[in-house]
C-alpha cells in the first residue's frame, strides 16, 4: 500500500489535466488534477486498520450493489440499514454506562447516582478475582479486590449490589465470562429474594468464552467444557429466563487487544457462528436460542470504517443465519449489539482530549445503528472513572441524542459511495477470514493453534510502529505534545476496601450451613461428569450459599484448567 503514497512535493503536473481536452470525462479530469497536485504526508491512504483508501468514491463504487438484496429497508432483511423499521425515531439507544468498583455497597451507590442522572440500564463491571473465579480472600486476589470492578463473591454481595433497585423493572448487563453461570445464578437468587421471578428478568450476560481465549484472556477451564457451560446457559435461559440475552458475543476486547476493524468483525462473527453450531449440536432448534444472542462491538476512531463495520456485521449475520443455518424466525437473523468507545484509543497525555475522542466514536456508533452504548470517561486510561467524569461521558450521549439530530434520520449514511464501498470491503474481508478459520478446522482449533492471537499481535505491532514513526499522529502523544499542567484527580480504591471485603466473605462463610454448601458443590461436580444441564446445579449452589470461588474450583477436577499457548 505504501508504494501508492504520494509525498509532499508531488509529481510534475500532468499535461492532460491542463489541456481540458474535450474527450475527457469529468472523472478523468479530476483524476488528472488530483494526481498532479501535492498531497499531505502520513497514513492518509488507508484506514486505521490498514484498509487501502481511494481519495474519493463515486458512482462506480456502487456498481454491483442491488438495493433490495444488499441493503433493504430498516427492519428488513439483510438489515444493513438497521434492525428496526423505526430505529431511533421509535426509541433511542439504551445509554448504559458500565460501572463497578470497590465493594458492592459502593457500586450500589454509583448505580443509584447513574439512574438519577437519566441512565436507562445498568451494567456491572466485576473485579478481577470475580472474573477469574477467586473469592476476595483467596491469595491470588491480593491487591486486586475491588480494583477494576466491584468485588462479588457471595449471594450477600449480589444482594447488596442491587439493594433498592427493582430487578423486575430494570435491565442489567453483566460483563463476566468464565464465572458467568455463577453471576447469573446469583442474580436470579437475588431477584427471588426481592420477590421477582426469573421469567421477569431482563438483561445480558457476556458469557462469551471464545473471545476470552482469543483476546481478553480470562478463563478457568479449557475451551471445550466452556462451550458446554455456555450451551447449558443458552438452553436454560431460552426455557426459564426468556427475556435474558444469554450471551453477548464480543468484538470489543478483540479490538482492544490490537486487532483491525476487519479482524474484530470477522473473529466476532466467527465466534457467533461457533455458538450457533454448538447450540444446534446440543440438540436445540436454531430459532429457539438465536433470537437471544446479542453482540458487543468497539467504537474506534476511524469514523467511517466503524460505521461500515456495524452495517457489514448486520448483513453478514443475517445472511449466514438465514442461508447457512436455515433459521426461520426473522429475530434470529437480526443482530442486536451494544457498543463501547475504544478504551485503547484514550491517552494519558492531555486526558481532557479523550472527551472529544469519545464523542466522535459514540457518534459513529449511533450512525451505525447501535442498540445500546457505553461512552468511556476521560480518566479511564489511568483508573476507574470518578463520578464527575462518568457524568460527562453520559452527557456526551445525551448531546448526541438530543442536540445533533444524528438519530432523527435512519442510517443517514446509507447510499454514501464511500460507506457502501467500505461496507462491502469489510464484508469481503470477513468472508476471507471465515475461510481461513474453516481451513484450520474451526474456531477452537484455531485458538489452540494461536491463529487469532498471532493475527492480533501482528496488527497491534504494525499500528504501534506507525505511531512510533510519526506516520500516524496521536494528538498529545507524538505531536502537539505539551507539558502537563496539572494531573487529573482519579478514583482511588483504598486498601481498606480489600480488608473489609475479605472480612465480609469470611463472615458469610462462617454464618452458613457449610455442609449444605458442600453437598451442593458435590452435586454440581457430579452433574458436570454427566451431561445434565448445569444451570440448575449452579442455582442450587448459590441458594446453598456456596461462594463464587468455591463453585468455580469445584469444577476444576472435572474440567481441568486452561493454559494458553503463549504467542508473542
Amino acid at each position: 500500500m505504501s508504494d501508492k503514497k504520494v509525498r509532499g512535493n508531488g509529481r510534475p503536473a500532468n499535461g492532460k489535466s491542463q489541456e481540458r481536452s474535450k474527450g475527457l470525462s469529468g472523472k478523468e479530469l479530476w483524476d488528472a488534477q488530483f494526481a498532479s497536485t501535492p498531497k499531505r504526508a502520513g497514513a492518509i491512504d488507508r484506514t486505521i486498520s490498514d484498509l487501502p483508501l481511494k481519495p474519493m468514491y463515486g458512482p462506480e463504487d456502487l456498481a454491483g450493489i442491488d438495493y433490495e438484496r444488499d441493503l433493504g429497508y430498516p427492519g428488513e432483511y439483510p438489515y444493513t440499514r438497521g434492525i428496526h423499521p423505526t430505529m431511533y425515531r421509535g426509541r433511542l439507544w439504551t445509554m448504559r454506562q458500565f460501572a463497578g468498583f470497590g465493594t458492592a455497597k459502593q457500586t450500589n451507590e454509583r448505580f443509584h447516582f447513574l439512574l438519577a442522572q437519566g441512565q436507562t440500564g445498568l451494567s456491572v463491571a466485576f473485579d478481577m478475582p470475580a472474573l477469574m473465579g477467586y473469592d476476595s480472600d483467596h491469595p491470588r486476589a491480593l491487591g486486586e479486590v475491588g480494583k477494576c470492578g466491584v468485588a462479588v463473591a457471595t449471594l450477600q454481595d449480589m444482594q447488596d449490589l442491587f439493594a433498592g433497585i427493582d430487578l423486575g423493572a430494570i435491565s442489567t448487563s453483566m460483563t463476566i465470562n468464565c464465572t458467568a453461570p455463577v453471576a447469573l445464578a446469583l442474580y436470579i437468587a437475588t431477584a427471588e429474594s426481592q420477590g421477582v421471578p426469573q421469567e421477569k428478568l431482563s438483561g445480558t450476560l457476556q458469557a462469551d468464552m471464545l473471545k476470552e481465549y482469543i483476546a481478553q484472556k480470562e478463563w478457568i477451564y479449557p475451551p471445550e467444557p466452556s462451550m458446554r457451560i455456555i450451551t447449558d446457559m443458552m438452553s436454560y435461559c431460552a426455557r426459564h429466563v426468556p427475556k435474558w440475552n444469554s450471551i453477548s458475543i464480543s468484538g470489543y476486547h478483540i479490538r482492544e487487544a490490537g486487532s483491525t476493524a476487519a479482524q474484530e468483525l470477522a473473529f466476532t462473527l466467527a465466534d457467533g457462528f461457533a455458538y450457533v453450531e454448538a447450540g444446534i449440536a446440543a440438540g436445540m432448534d436454531v430459532d429457539e436460542f438465536a433470537p437471544r444472542l446479542s453482540f458487543f462491538f468497539n467504537a474506534h476512531s476511524d469514523f467511517f470504517e466503524e460505521i461500515a463495520k456495524y452495517r457489514a456485521a448486520r448483513r453478514i449475520w443475517a445472511r449466514h443465519m438465514r442461508e447457512r443455518f436455515a433459521a426461520k424466525n426473522p429475530r434470529s437473523w437480526t443482530m442486536r449489539f451494544h457498543t463501547q468507545t475504544a478504551g485503547c484509543s484514550a491517552t494519558a497525555q492531555q486526558a481532557q482530549n479523550n472527551i472529544m475522542r469519545v464523542a466522535f466514536q459514540a457518534l459513529g456508533a449511533v450512525l451505525g445503528g447501535t442498540q445500546s452504548l457505553h461512552t468511556n470517561s476521560l480518566d479511564e486510561v489511568l483508573a476507574l472513572p470518578t463520578e464527575e467524569n462518568a457524568q460527562i461521558a453520559l452527557r456526551t450521549q445525551q448531546i448526541i441524542a438530543y442536540e445533533t439530530g444524528a438519530g432523527n434520520v435512519i442510517d443517514p449514511l446509507g447510499g454514501s459511495y464511500y460507506v457502501e464501498k467500505l461496507t462491502n470491503e469489510l464484508e469481503a474481508e470477513a468472508e476471507r477470514y471465515f475461510e481461513r478459520i474453516a481451513e484450520l478446522g474451526g474456531v477452537i482449533p484455531a485458538i489452540h493453534a494461536g491463529f487469532f492471537q498471532k493475527e492480533i499481535a501482528d496488527a497491534s505491532y504494525r499500528y504501534q510502529r506507525e505511531i512510533e514513526s510519526g506516520e500516524r499522529i496521536i494528538v498529545g502523544v507524538n505531536d502537539f505534545v505539551q507539558e502537563e499542567a496539572e494531573s487529573i484527580s482519579l478514583l482511588k480504591i483504598d486498601r481498606a476496601v480489600e480488608l473489609e471485603q475479605c472480612r465480609r466473605v469470611q463472615e458469610f462463610r462462617a454464618n452458613r450451613d457449610g455442609e449444605a454448601a458442600q453437598r451442593a458443590l458435590d452435586r454440581l461436580a457430579e452433574a458436570a461428569r454427566g451431561d445434565e444441564n448445569l444451570m440448575p446445579h449452579y442455582l442450587n449452589c448459590v441458594r446453598s450459599k456456596a461462594t463464587l470461588g468455591e463453585i468455580s474450583e469445584a469444577l476444576v477436577p472435572v474440567f481441568g484448567r486452561y493454559r494458553e499457548p503463549a504467542v508473542i
Binding site: 486476589a141 487487544a257 489511568l382 497491534s460 504501534q464
Partner: protein, 135 residues
C-alpha cells in the same frame, strides 16, 4: 563480543491485557534482545523463579488491573530475598502518575506510563540492563 541482553517480559496478577506486553516483547526482540514471555496470570513467585532460571538481565512487568502497588514491590522483595537483586525490574501499565514515585522508591528501576514510545523503553533496557551484560 558481548552477549545479547536477556529480558523476561512478565504478566503478573489476574488481568489478561497482554497487548502492551506483546508489543514491548517484539520491540525488544527487534532491538536485538533475547526475550522470554511468561504468559499470563503469573504469581510474583513464578515471575522471579522464571527470571532466575532463565538468567535474565531484566524483568519487564506489565500490570493493567490496578494491582501494581502490590505486584511490583512483591517481585522486588522476592528478588532481594533470592539474592538476585541485580536483575533490573521495570514495567508499565495503567499506572497513575502519582504512583510512579512510590514505585521508583520501592526499587523499580523504570516505570513507563501509557503512551510511552517503544524507543524510550528500548533505550532504557540497553542502558540499564546492558550494565549487567558488561558490554
Amino acid at each position: 563480543m558481548a552477549r545479547p541482553i536477556r529480558i523476561l517480559v512478565a504478566k503478573a496478577g489476574l488481568d489478561g491485557h497482554d497487548r502492551g506486553a506483546k508489543v514491548i516483547a517484539r520491540a525488544l526482540r527487534d532491538a536485538g534482545c533475547e526475550v522470554i514471555y511468561t504468559g499470563l496470570h503469573q504469581t510474583p513467585e513464578q515471575v522471579v523463579e522464571a527470571a532466575i532460571q532463565e538468567d535474565v538481565d531484566g524483568i519487564g512487568l506489565s500490570v493493567l488491573s490496578g494491582a501494581h502497588m502490590t505486584l511490583f514491590p512483591r517481585i522486588k522483595e522476592l528478588l532481594v530475598k533470592e539474592g538476585s537483586d541485580d536483575i533490573v525490574l521495570f514495567g508499565g501499565g495503567t499506572i497513575p502518575p502519582e504512583d510512579v514515585k512510590p514505585l521508583l522508591a520501592a526499587g523499580v528501576a523504570g516505570v513507563f506510563t501509557p503512551g510511552t514510545p517503544m524507543a524510550t523503553i528500548v533505550d532504557f533496557v540497553r542502558r540499564e540492563c546492558g550494565k549487567r551484560v558488561g558490554a
